[in-house]
């Protein structure tokens, strides 16, 4: 299947608060960022932590401006996020 994203795409992380394990850090939820590059293909960690095999999916480096994450700061933070955590932004 073709990748949903290419470097440079604008994306938003889902605003979720799952009951169990997730690898989407709380500070990076519901945030607007830019895809940097693909960082491999891996089963979703949330599924693996629940004992499910998890389907392999792309993982992305997504870069966020500090102002978007924290409302302040002049730096950027790049987080590694599974495809399932992302929504396309048109």
């Amino acid at each position: 299947m073709a990748d949903r994203f290419v470097p440079g795409d604008r994306v938003r992380t889902r605003s979720v608060d799952p009951a169990g394990h997730t690898r989407l850090p709380r500070y990076a939820r519901g945030a607007l960022g830019t895809v940097v590059e693909r960082a491999g293909v891996h089963p979703l960690a949330d599924d693996r932590a629940r004992g499910l095999p998890g389907a392999a999916e792309p993982v992305w480096h997504v870069r966020f401006e500090a102002t978007e994450l924290f409302g302040t700061g002049d730096h950027a933070v790049t987080v590694e996020v599974w495809d399932s955590y992302l929504e396309a932004v048109s």
């Binding site: 500070y27 990076a28 960690a45 950027a76």
Partner: protein
């Protein structure tokens, strides 16, 4: 999270699983400990330093390293395949305008094969929670003050990749050999909490 590792329930469960695996002949007695010891013994910041020194003297290697670090590492006799599976490595290069710093906010992910076991502060909640919000302030506490026009870029190892910083080559080192250059590289320089 790394603090979970101390709970006795999970420790007992791990010991029980290990005992069952040994009983059923899946692994040899003591194999887990031996494999962990082997893995840790091979890991040292000297490995990261060798990579950096080569990148400083060989622009072609530098380009290959930044484009696909896993493919470039064998050129200096290293790999990320020492654990259960090969880990993807992403090398990020500091410059006159951008400074990178590494963290794992969710736990303590770290390129042990290239940097050795991580320092305790790297695993502390204080570092992990603060460096993403205020990297300039945290770096200053390490004695690393960056000019205001240097952009700071934090990398959070939240998934499967591991990271390493390629520091800027210090000025006045043009006459040094690759081995001498490697000796200038510090662990904190490879994490991004120090300049060289």
């Amino acid at each position: 999270m790394s603090s979970d590792h101390g709970s006795s329930a999970i420790s007992e469960r791990v010991r029980r699983v290990e005992a069952l695996l040994e009983q059923r002949g899946v692994i040899a007695a003591g194999e887990v400990d031996r494999r962990i010891e082997e893995f840790l013994a091979g890991g040292s910041p000297a490995n990261g330093a060798r990579i950096v020194a080569r990148a400083w003297v060989d622009d072609g290697f530098r380009d290959r390293l930044l484009a696909d670090a896993n493919a470039a590492l064998p050129e200096v006799g290293l790999s990320m395949a020492g654990g259960i599976q090969e880990q993807r490595l992403k090398v990020v290069a500091n410059s006159a305008t951008e400074h990178h710093v590494l963290v794992c906010t969710l736990c303590s992910c770290y390129p042990i094969a290239l940097l050795g076991p991580s320092p305790s502060w790297y695993k502390s909640e204080a570092y992990r929670s603060r460096v993403v919000r205020d990297p300039r302030g945290v770096l200053a506490e390490f004695g690393t003050t960056l000019p205001d026009d240097v952009r700071i870029s934090v990398w959070d190892a939240s998934a499967e990749s591991r990271y390493m910083v390629l520091p800027v080559r210090p000025a006045g080192t043009g006459s040094l050999s690759e081995t001498e250059l490697a000796a200038l590289v510090t662990r904190n320089g490879l994490i991004g909490t120090a300049l060289l």
